[in-house]
Symmetry: C2
Subunit: 322 residues, 2 copies
């Protein structure tokens, strides 16, 4: 089994690579090709680790020429950066997806139609934008309020159309906020959702830029890897024509996040959270959904945590002190 | 007032140019720049008539350099052709929209932000795909079942995001099927909706490739021009963040279309309609909505016909025997 991971150096990419390197694919060893701009120190050992930008000319044709059976397309700049660097957002988050699809399609054509790889794309709940009903499902319209969200919708649409034509076999998974992210803060506007748990657990102060009443949906990095693997193996005939799926998660307020942290780690840890409002982040987060249903994904076997306590414990077990 | 029309040689483009040439813009003469691959014999006289492809490199920068106050982007290949020529569909229906947006944004930047043109884009109800509820509105998800529909959704998303950022001031109007189209049949899968009225009124046989029970939404070419002009003048502050609008129309079955023709033109004319099922067209049309609401557009003053009889009479008055 040949597996290509674009964005393999990122937090989820590394966890995905680690799982595949450890468990293989459905019981058999997997050949893993990793691609990213950069990797952490001591990256997960894989078959081939490539370094470069997804915007490099000719890259996608070169990667597709190996005819990977599964392509995980995780490469993206985050929402905050796509908002402040408009050009970079479109150049990284949209065009390489088109180039990838065209490159895979060229291999499909060369193979006389036999080659039709599974493509798993990490979309985001940022495809949705306010005003929201109190709760909504996979049928809600995609009306994003950020460039990042618009770029994700567009990739979903391309993947859907290339799949409908039979060139690839794509699935887009709309991730809720992945929390608790290990490591350093990134430029994602959603970064504080992890920061207010991670930093205090590491004995450091954390900034909370939004009010306690903000409600949001979360899933752990471990769940995110589970989503990717499930998306890679599911029978896409069950999806029908709509290949973008809301992923499940835990809906809770910032106050509930903090209470879960208090239950698990105590008052002194919670005391490290400092309130410091940030209007830009508040505005971006206001445009995101508070709560949505993932009925289709759940029926297809996608699983997330059921409480924020469980999410905090997953972080402690998997990442704290590593 | 400087007005650029992309796709000016097409049926709607010519009617729009004729209206602007006759009436000007809000009472003042308009400078009209027309662009298209080709024009009909005796095209509407305009200030400048350019011939070329929207895919020509450098074209959009050149057109944007004139800083048109209003840009009508009607240039597109039709649904049937985008379905059979996959590459051409994306190259014509998606990438030039991106190039246009980037070119207008470059002028916006050069002007220090003062230049922010109104951009009116003809999207389509093909952005929607089955399964449909019995009736739906502007909040329904965009899940197209054709490449043409996917390309229109993507352009809507780009226009929305460039508008949100303040680079352009865009509006996408989702046209129902424009009927009765004058002139020769084109490659649109929806072509027969016009053909079964137009050909018999011109004493010719027409092919009906779908069952009489097919229901669909229609508006006349005159209404389409009205939609474009309304979209060019409306206060976009009233749109909020969602700048794509369903246009109103007349919902009726093919049987009701035929009965309207019979009422107006008699049995001998109706007898020219020949039933000849076409599975490809049936499949495409099955994926289209039968009936939808255009509440937002109606509240904003967009107006269509109220009966199919009126649509037939508009054709007779405006186009028959010209």
């Amino acid at each position: 089994m040949r597996i290509l991971i674009l964005g393999a150096g990122g937090m989820i990419g590394q966890k995905l690579a680690a799982r595949l390197a450890r468990d293989g694919w459905q019981g058999a060893p997997a050949e893993i090709v990793a691609h990213d701009m950069a990797y952490p120190p001591n990256p997960v050992p894989v078959t081939r680790q490539l370094t470069g930008s997804v915007t490099d000319p000719g890259l996608m044709a070169q990667l597709a020429a190996d005819r990977p059976d599964i392509v995980f397309h995780l490469a993206s700049i985050v929402s905050g950066e796509a908002e402040t660097d408009f050009d970079k957002g479109w150049q990284v988050n949209m065009f390489p997806c088109w180039e990838l699809l065209q490159a895979l399609r060229a291999e499909h054509d060369k193979s006389g139609g036999a080659y039709r790889p599974r493509l798993v794309f990490t979309s985001s709940i940022a495809v949705f934008g306010a005003p929201f009903p109190e709760i909504f499902d996979d049928e809600f319209l995609t009306a994003p309020l950020t460039s990042y969200g618009a770029q994700k919708v567009i990739c979903e649409q391309m993947i859907n159309d290339f799949s409908r034509k039979g060139f690839v076999d794509g699935v887009s998974i709309r991730l809720p906020t992945i929390c608790v992210r290990p490591g350093k803060p990134n430029k994602a506007a959603s970064g504080f959702f992890s920061g207010i748990i991670r930093e205090p657990l590491n004995g450091q102060e954390a900034i909370l830029p939004v009010p306690d009443t903000v409600s949001h949906m979360h899933a752990s990095p471990r769940s995110a890897v589970g989503f990717l693997l499930r998306a890679a193996e599911l029978d896409t005939a069950e999806l029908g024509a709509r290949r973008a799926l809301n992923m499940p998660g835990v809906a809770c307020t910032v106050a509930e996040q903090i209470e879960a942290l208090r239950d698990i780690a105590g008052n002194n840890v919670v005391a490290l959270i400092k309130r410091q409002p940030d209007p830009l982040i508040e505005r971006i987060v206001e445009g995101w959904p508070r709560r949505f249903l993932a009925r289709r994904a759940e029926a297809l076997g996608f699983k997330a945590e059921t409480s924020f306590h469980e999410i905090v414990r997953t972080y402690i077990e998997e990442d704290l002190n590593r």
